[in-house]
């Protein structure tokens, strides 16, 4: 589990220092305060590959250029830097509860600048503008140091994202724009089933939605791929879980992520989407129970007071030490985070204080 996290020059954070992270970390703040950026910072710090960075861009709707020109290549990376200042170096550092550290530095590697050439009829070639690759300089939790580069191919044909392993913490990021992926759910469920762990997931869903779900299974009845199917009361046939309820499907996906990313980190932007308010206390209880059981750490953002209030029974039930509230505010163009301990978070909810 990550105990502390630091970042510099990433998106709206010139400097970020979180020192007392818990099993369940709730992120609040106004629009454009930096909630999503914080989740992205953690995702990028733990992934630390050019591909992870590109995937974050895609969640944000940044145009992807598979065959970028110089400006298009740079536009893929500029927005990661504080105030779009590419002269800076982005840095992150995570420390786990055992004192192991992983770090990442991202910068434009000027010493690696090169000019791609498009070969045409010999001896002529077309010179393209000079490209400065982006370096991902990483040190994993094991202490191993590696560098990966994002660039374009030498002959100017296509983006070149050097592949590499993530830094050792299994991570899942559900961006606010994430869409339910039936094939991924089916894959996770199947993997859990292979390990005889799927019943935990089925029981968790049934405990919340027992009147709607009798059982879950993965089926592939069509050539288009497999899905999680639900056995429901009052219907003779099983139906895809997504047809029962988008909210239940989302609940399933988040829980599956927690089980599947065992000993890792699950990041969820706008976690409240799709849940009826009276389900929220049980929803949080299940999330914390499974996260504790599978040693998964959860970071979740929300705008919803109902969602936060749903945490109160959990906080009052001796779990305040497992929860922290991270409130993000933007001042003078830079975002800062205030960490609020679980017992203070609990008091603010009890006393009806505005804490979002």
């Amino acid at each position: 589990m990550i105990k502390s996290f630091r970042a510099k020059n990433f998106r709206c954070f010139e400097e970020l220092d979180l020192s007392d992270l818990r099993r369940l970390n709730i992120i609040v703040g106004k629009n454009a305060a930096g909630k999503t950026a914080l989740l992205e910072a953690i995702r990028l710090a733990l992934g630390a590959t050019p591909s992870v960075a590109v995937s974050l861009n895609q969640y944000r709707g940044v145009t992807f250029f598979p065959n970028p020109l110089k400006e298009q290549f740079e536009s893929q990376w500029n927005s990661f830097f504080f105030k779009f200042d590419v002269e800076r170096t982005i840095s992150t550092e995570c420390e786990d509860t055992e004192g192991h550290k992983a770090s990442l530095r991202i910068f434009f590697a000027k010493e690696k600048a090169f000019t791609p050439m498009i070969p045409q009829q010999q001896p002529q070639t077309t010179l393209l503008p000079t490209i400065i690759p982006v370096c991902f300089d990483r040190v994993g939790f094991s202490g191993q140091s590696t560098k990966l580069y994002a660039s374009v191919h030498q002959q100017g044909q296509g983006l070149n994202l050097e592949p590499g392993p993530e830094l050792g913490q299994a991570t899942e990021f559900f961006a606010s724009s994430w869409f339910l992926n039936p094939a991924q759910n089916a894959q996770w469920f199947s993997q859990l089933s292979l390990e005889n762990r799927e019943q935990e997931l089925i029981d968790a869903v049934k405990s919340e939605f027992g009147s709607l779900i009798n059982d879950l299974s993965v089926l592939a009845p069509t050539p288009y791929g497999s899905s999680v199917y639900a056995t429901v009361p009052f219907l003779s046939n099983k139906i895809p879980l997504s047809l029962v309820s988008a909210g239940i499907n989302r609940f399933f996906t988040v829980l599956a992520g927690i089980l599947f990313r065992r000993s890792g980190v699950v990041l969820v932007d706008e976690i409240e989407n799709g849940f009826y308010f009276d389900r929220l206390p049980a929803f949080w209880t299940t999330i914390l129970r499974l996260a504790s059981q599978y040693d998964t750490q959860v970071f979740a953002s929300t705008h919803s007071m109902e969602c936060l209030r749903g945490l109160l029974p959990l906080l009052q039930d001796h779990h305040a030490d497992e929860v922290t509230l991270l409130r993000i505010e933007r001042q003078n163009g830079s975002s800062g985070v205030t960490s609020i301990k679980g017992e203070f978070f609990e008091a603010a909810l009890e006393q009806n204080f505005e804490i979002r």
Partner: protein, 206 residues
């Protein structure tokens, strides 16, 4: 608002707010705990202070105004503990204004070297304005035999409620929260009885 006065209950909040308005102090919020999960208003003050501590941005001072009751020393110590538990500094003694990283103070009602409650203080002000009311209400206490069994604090509360009902033609049901805008209100906010608290508020928010 840079300053916050923390009271025990909503009636107390309305009184302090009225006093602040009378003294033209405009830099101060007044609040009290919700009592949903707590028995007495004082019991919830530690939780209220912790809630207050979740957003210290712009906060310059926290003043606690509570009843001294019969154990002012113990009460003060419990407020010091509550302030410290909520990561606020605490004063060394009641009625002192401590300027640490933020300003803090604890005022025990009715005033220095006196046990009692806000009800005692308000009652004192009513008797001062309406001396004739004292004999009437004591007779009422005798008639209803409350003096023999009720605790002094409860007696004070009963006397005050009865007097408010008797004077407030506009709304005999009026509570301490509403009395200030009710026709016939017998509690004079400009009473000398409130001078110690009012002066302390002025000094604290100055």
């Amino acid at each position: 608002m840079p300053f916050v006065v923390v009271c025990e209950g909503y009636g107390d909040v309305c009184f302090v707010a009225e006093l602040l308005e009378h003294r033209k102090i405009e830099v101060c919020n007044v609040g009290c705990p919700t009592q949903k999960h707590f028995g007495d208003g004082k019991d919830a003050i530690p939780a209220y202070l912790k809630a207050l501590a979740t957003d210290k941005k712009g906060l310059k001072g926290v003043l606690i105004v509570v009843d001294a009751d019969n154990t002012p020393g113990t009460l003060f110590e419990s407020m010091v503990q509550a302030l410290n538990a909520a990561t606020f500094p605490a004063p060394d003694q009641p009625f002192a204004i401590e300027n640490k990283e933020i300003r803090v103070g604890v005022f025990l009602v009715p005033r220095k070297n006196e046990n009692g409650t806000l009800d005692n203080l308000l009652l004192e002000s009513v008797f001062k304005k309406h001396p004739e009311a004292r004999e009437c209400i004591e007779k009422f206490v005798d008639c209803t035999k409350t003096s023999k069994t009720w605790k002094p604090n409860q007696q004070a509360k009963m006397k005050l409620s009865a007097l408010v009902a008797a004077y407030c033609e506009g709304n005999p049901w009026s509570s301490l929260a509403w009395v200030w805008s009710t026709k016939g209100n017998p509690i004079p906010i400009d009473s000398d009885c409130f001078a110690d608290l009012a002066d302390f508020l002025v000094a604290f928010c100055g």
